[in-house]
């Protein structure tokens, strides 16, 4: 019985606090995680309750899969569990101490008191979590936790919360099973031990995890930039060749001029030089136009996607006029978004007889626009179908790109997507308001 009640309260708490961040698929995962927690709470013998902090930490780390920000996750989960424990404890104390309710009540009626208490706890959980959920929604925890002192503070709070939970469980389970006083005393030593252990573990763990993600990202960046450098070097070789060809052409022309051979010159010009001009224009690919992107991660991913398109013989048109050195959103999210847009554009225009992609980044006074346009071959379906998970014109395992795109953008108040299907072009624009809410 306790088990189902606990699960219900946790459900109320999670759905309100996590509401703003996660969609249904992830919520199921979280609920599954809490299911395990509650199950373990029930089956644990009192002797093993000290395993609980480990279980808590393990679960918080698992939740990392759902929400990429580890600290935020740990904090939220701890808040949820703490609320759960505290609410039940306090409400119980209050309900059992209301004299008008308890006096003169036969023992058989106690179960009604318990049900009343359970409902009260559910209501309190709901109110608190709704309130907290709204508050948390307005704060961007991602930015805050990047600063070290917040991480530190957060870890301390979480450690204390975890220990509070252990204490609570200790006292309730302990007293229910009639544990002697000596164990309660012993538990204070255990308490000190766990406080320290918990704190250290959480701190190092979170630090480690964050560093690992950053490291992986840096490796990816490096390889993208390497490709970009290779393109530039190839271009340099091409330009060298052009220098030589140019000298040859000048020489030949001066030869014709010396001998006043106008007809010969005309023939030479029409047959050789025009063709050469055309082929050379096609050869110089437009990648070096990315020099205006001063955000290295963005430059890396854009160049690697455009290179991919270039090798698939897709005509790429790049337009970046001003320097892009700042954008008001997480750079990793931005790279993910651009990656999805460009991947989709490449896939969509491949089948066209003259595939073409237009890519431009526009810097307005207070906003930055990233536009990706591509031509396409029907049928490509309607826009609203495309945004549903699992939609794809190409087989069953793909099709989550646009869905993920929407999920990422929905986390920001200052980022907007525009999608348009025109007669001969499909355009997607991401607008980032640099003076938006999160500053």
């Amino acid at each position: 019985m306790i088990f189902y009640k606990a699960f219900l309260w946790e459900f109320i708490l999670i759905s309100n606090i996590y509401n703003f961040r996660i969609n249904i698929v992830n919520k199921k995962f979280i609920l599954g995680v809490f299911f395990i927690l509650t199950l373990s709470l029930k089956t644990l013998d009192y002797k093993y309750f000290f395993v609980l902090p480990m279980v808590l930490i393990a679960i918080q780390v698992l939740l990392f899969k759902v929400n990429n920000n580890v600290i935020e996750n740990i904090l939220l989960v701890s808040i949820i569990i703490a609320l759960f424990g505290v609410n039940k404890f306090i409400v119980s104390k209050i309900v059992w101490n209301i004299p008008s309710l308890i006096d003169g009540l036969p023992k058989s009626h106690y179960k009604y008191i318990i049900i009343f208490r359970d409902i009260l706890v559910a209501i309190v959980c709901f109110i608190e979590s709704k309130f907290l959920g709204n508050k948390i929604n307005k704060i961007s925890l991602t930015e805050r936790f990047k600063k070290n002192h917040y991480k530190f503070l957060g870890t301390i709070i979480v450690a204390i919360l975890n220990i509070g939970i252990v204490l609570y469980i200790n006292s309730t389970i302990g007293s229910r099973l009639g544990i002697k006083k000596c164990i309660k005393i012993m538990s204070t030593d255990i308490f000190m031990f766990y406080l320290l252990f918990n704190f250290l573990l959480l701190y190092f763990l979170s630090d480690l995890l964050v560093k690992r993600i950053q490291y992986k990202q840096k490796i990816k960046n490096l390889s993208s930039l390497n490709e970009y450098t290779k393109t530039i070097e190839n271009l340099y070789t091409d330009i060298n060749k052009m220098k030589h060809d140019y000298s040859n052409i000048i020489l030949t022309i001066s030869g014709y001029l010396d001998s006043s051979d106008l007809d010969g010159l005309k023939r030479y010009f029409n047959s050789n030089i025009l063709k050469y001009n055309n082929s050379f224009n096609k050869k110089i690919n437009r990648l070096p136009l990315l020099y205006s992107i001063k955000l290295l991660e963005l430059k890396g991913i854009v160049s690697s996607k455009l290179l991919r398109a270039y090798y698939k013989n897709i005509d790429i048109n790049i337009s970046i006029i001003e320097e892009i050195d700042f954008i008001n959103m997480d750079i990793m999210d931005l790279c993910r978004i651009i990656g999805i847009l460009l991947d989709n554009a490449i896939e969509a225009c491949e089948k066209h007889s003259k595939p073409k992609i237009n890519f431009s980044i526009i810097k307005n006074r207070t906003s930055i626009l990233l536009c990706v346009g591509n031509n396409y071959v029907e049928p490509i379906g309607n826009i609203h179908e495309m945004f549903k998970s699992g939609f794809s014109t190409k087989g069953s395992n793909r099709g989550v790109g646009l869905y993920i795109l929407e999920e990422i953008v929905s986390r920001y108040n200052n980022v907007f997507i525009e999608t348009r299907k025109e007669k001969d072009e499909f355009v997607q624009v991401i607008i980032v308001d640099n003076e938006g809410a999160d500053l």
Binding site: N19, F20, N137, N317, I318, S319, I321, N358, F359, S360, I362, N364, R365, T366, S367, L369, C371, G373, N382, I383, H384, F387, V409, S410, R411, Y412, N413, N414, F416, I417, E418, T419, R420, K421, E422, V427, V429, I431, V432, D433, N434, E435, G436, A437
Partner: protein, 252 residues
């Protein structure tokens, strides 16, 4: 009378463009005239400050001056918000998306051959002519303005299917015939600038009655003309059905 301004620093090309324009104007009898042909962008800026309206600006992108075509267009937009800007460029160096989103240019023309230039210019002038002939008042009612950051855009009301709230914050998404656009705002705010054709059907949706195909009462979904669906809740279903049946009565 619509004024046309041409800014191109290559004399030969400028003269040929002006010649083509005059031809098109006389052949199709457009109420337009060449107000200024200049090679210096500053002359054009001076002109725009004089207050002659409406204007079509034909600007060359590569001007051998301190300011290039795009900057010039930017400044012109500040002075003359409602003008039409058309770019002329010698090669496809710039993506047309830049033109569209940065200075809301109407179109861009590539200087590759005479016939192409002529056709494109005709297309543009024709579009301007059509837009200017529509009654101005009707125009303003039939258009919905949205702003995201400092990008302001207008959509035709008849293309709008419905509005929905997105995410946790101040964001809305408008579903149109062939596009979906997100912008900042709340349903409450936009309700004030929408007329009787729009009806709130749900806590998170405002729907355009004109574009409803049918309403499924059982599943509480509204099917739109372009195949999309949105929702209606018990609180609003009566109103929506009433507005919907009213629309049909009006048609009959």
């Amino acid at each position: 009378m619509i004024n046309i301004v041409v800014c191109e620093d290559n004399d030969v090309q400028r003269q040929s463009i002006v010649k083509i324009l005059k031809e098109i104007i006389s052949v199709h009898n457009f109420k337009m005239n060449i107000a200024l042909e200049a090679s210096d962008p500053y002359e054009v800026i001076e002109y725009s400050k004089r207050g002659n309206r409406p204007n079509i600006y034909l600007l060359d992108v590569n001007l051998k001056s301190v300011i290039n075509g795009i900057n010039l267009a930017d400044r012109l937009r500040e002075e003359d918000i409602l003008s039409f800007i058309i770019f002329i460029t010698s090669h496809e160096d710039m993506s047309y998306l830049t033109f569209k989103y940065k200075v809301e240019a109407m179109d861009y023309i590539i200087k590759d051959n005479y016939t192409n230039i002529k056709n494109k210019l005709y297309e543009c002038l024709n579009t301007v002519n059509k837009r200017m002939s529509i009654d101005k008042e009707e125009c303003s009612k039939d258009v919905f303005t949205i702003n995201t950051g400092d990008v302001i855009r207008t959509i035709n009301c008849e293309d709008i299917m419905f509005f929905e709230t997105v995410g946790g914050g101040h964001k809305l998404r408008v579903h149109c015939l062939n596009s979906q656009i997100e912008f900042s705002g709340t349903l409450k705010e936009i309700n004030e600038s929408l007329d009787y054709r729009f009806c709130k059907s749900h806590k998170s949706y405002i729907v355009n009655i004109v574009n409803i195909d049918f309403i499924d009462k059982k599943t509480k979904t509204i099917h739109m003309n372009n195949g999309e669906q949105c929702y209606v809740s018990r609180n609003y279903i009566k109103e929506v059905i009433k507005a919907f049946t009213d629309k049909y009565e009006k048609l009959i």
